[in-house]
Amino acid sequence: MTSSTETISGIGTERAEIKAQYKKFIGRKILFIISSLILIFIIAGVAATLGSYPITVTEVYSIIFHGLFQNAGTNKEIAVWNLRLPRILMGISAGVGLAIAGTMMQGILRNPLASPFTLGIASGAGFGAALAIILGAGVVAGEYLIIGNAFIFALIPTFVIIGLTRYKRATPETMILAGIAMLYIFSAATTLIQYFAEPEAVKAVVFWMVGSLGKASWDAILPVSIVLAVCVPLLMWKSWDVNVMGAGDETAKSLGVNIERTRITVMIIASLLAAAIISFTGAIGFIGLVAPHMCRMVIGGDNRFLIPASGLFGAALLLVADTIARTIIAPVILPVGVITAFMGGPLFLYLIMRRRREYW
């Protein structure tokens, strides 16, 4: 081999150089994660000042700080603590959850188009909500009828997909095609019940499906954050195996990864995550698809870094979108789902045009 003829010192410096480059690459990934985190704090601070009741950025931070120790008293405190903060926190949770669910779905299915939408989760949730709104019927009764129904129906596509893999191998192609089939079935079912419904109910269904943070409250944040706290660490733990699966099923198997089990486990966790969020906010589109791709362009495909990066970046993106939704034609507040799609669509097109190769 030619390298063995090189002098020892030559090899040493070369190694040190690669090591330094590698460390620098990791440093860049960490920097991106930290920047996204700072960005979230800044946008959240700005977002909390906006609204019908004028409050400055410094005031907001001091109100939030004081509110940690005592109950909200003044009008400003109530506006921040009871209205704006829940909305912001819900935005952050939804952004983190949807982006991470999208990242992992793309990873295990090795497909850049995989997202909570293409796998039928959003349309399942939409049907569940429509059923509850129009017929007032559902699996869960009472105040949480819409949320509970949306959540349960959101999980049906995933369980159908996984059920199919008992009869056919759990290949990415099978799973994606099955997901798209579920998407169409649930969309058709939703259209059908809308066709026979009262106009008011149809309007409510349409609004629900666009997705908004308007229903955010402390009661909603608690369950969503519990789901996040359980699912995200589990997905992080699987990140190495998902990295290896990126090299192809055969290579992954030869490296000791049980690909079919990993694929199904990750699919269930990511679906739970997406379903929990969508059932509270409605189907906020594009975050789960765009955030992972944008992060891959900057920091590469290593899921150990990509999961936190796209989660935080997705949260920042959703907060920006919601801030625009609240201010662009104030006092009318648009549903955030409209803005994410309007913002995400052209942005995504631009990225596709700009990329150098067939992949990021």
Binding site: M1, E14, I18, R110, W240, T251, K253, D302, R357
Partner: protein, 264 residues
């Protein structure tokens, strides 16, 4: 014997692909598996690495049945080198080679793993590509990355699936020389499925010729790569010349297929 394949049978949806295959592989031996398309070469390689699970028969590694091993355990002993990449999302060469440490590490990669990766990059002379994306490299460079990845697994047996089919002649020789040297120096055993009979003749210690899922002939290159065998298995009339003690095959023309017992 390092590896023993005993009476292995495999079928895809009841179409038999491997029938009663028996192979023995010694230490530091390079075994070439040749045969026409669909003869079962790749299937055999995949069965040995449990990528496919044979319906019948046993595969013994150091006298232990691989069916009783956990996937991670097998991955520490057998390294698989694919033909080409199917990476869709970006991955640097460094990270690709680091994947070879998966069977050995937990969640975090340590200095030792990084050191192993650097060592292999240097061994294969691909340090300059370390931070490049794997998809940007040529077929020959990718093969070297896959060899490096397989070696960081620290395996005893290497499996090569058509290692030269995407390469130009210079890279074919380069990659095969590297493999041959590694098998010698690291005392590994290797099985390669290969189409090119002349490369097989030149680099394999022993050759197995397969036809329709069965072993048609086995032995050293001279005894396997005969005009008669090639005619019966491939349906090709060929001239076999002696090239420094190794057979050199010049294919001449396909034989007309009437009652050819090579392709039942």
């Amino acid at each position: 014997m390092k590896l023993k394949v005993k009476e292995v049978e495999f079928s895809y949806a009841s179409v038999p692909v491997l029938k009663d295959v028996c192979i023995e592989l010694a230490e530091s031996e390079m075994l070439g598996v040749v045969g026409p398309n669909g003869a079962g070469k790749s299937t055999l390689i995949r069965c040995i690495d449990q990528i496919l699970v044979p319906q019948k028969g046993n595969i013994l590694l150091d006298n232990r049945d691989i069916k009783e091993m956990r996937l991670m355990e097998l991955a520490k002993k057998v390294g698989y080198i694919p033909q080409s990449t199917s990476q869709i999302f970006p991955a640097t060469v460094f990270d690709t080679v680091l994947m070879g440490r998966r069977p050995h590490l937990g969640w975090r990669s340590s200095e030792k793993d990084t050191g192993k990766v650097l060592e292999m990059l240097q061994l294969l002379n691909i340090e300059e590509f370390a931070m490049r994306d794997i998809n940007e490299l040529s077929g020959g460079q990718q093969q070297k990355v896959f060899i490096a990845r397989a070696l960081t697994q620290e395996p005893d047996v290497l499996l090569l699936d058509e290692p030269t089919s995407n390469l130009d002649i210079r890279h074919q020789l380069e990659v095969m020389d590297i493999k041959k040297n590694i098998v010698r120096e690291k005392e590994l055993s290797a099985i390669m499925a290969i189409h090119d009979l002349n490369l097989a003749s030149r680099y394999a210690d022993r050759i197995i010729m397969m036809n329709s899922g069965e072993i048609f002939s086995a032995g050293d290159p001279v005894s396997v790569l005969t005009p008669d065998n090639i005619k019966r298995v491939y349906g090709v009339e060929a001239e076999v010349n002696n090239n420094n003690g190794k057979p050199y095959i010049v294919p001449i023309r396909p034989v007309r297929q009437n009652g050819n017992d090579g392709r039942s």
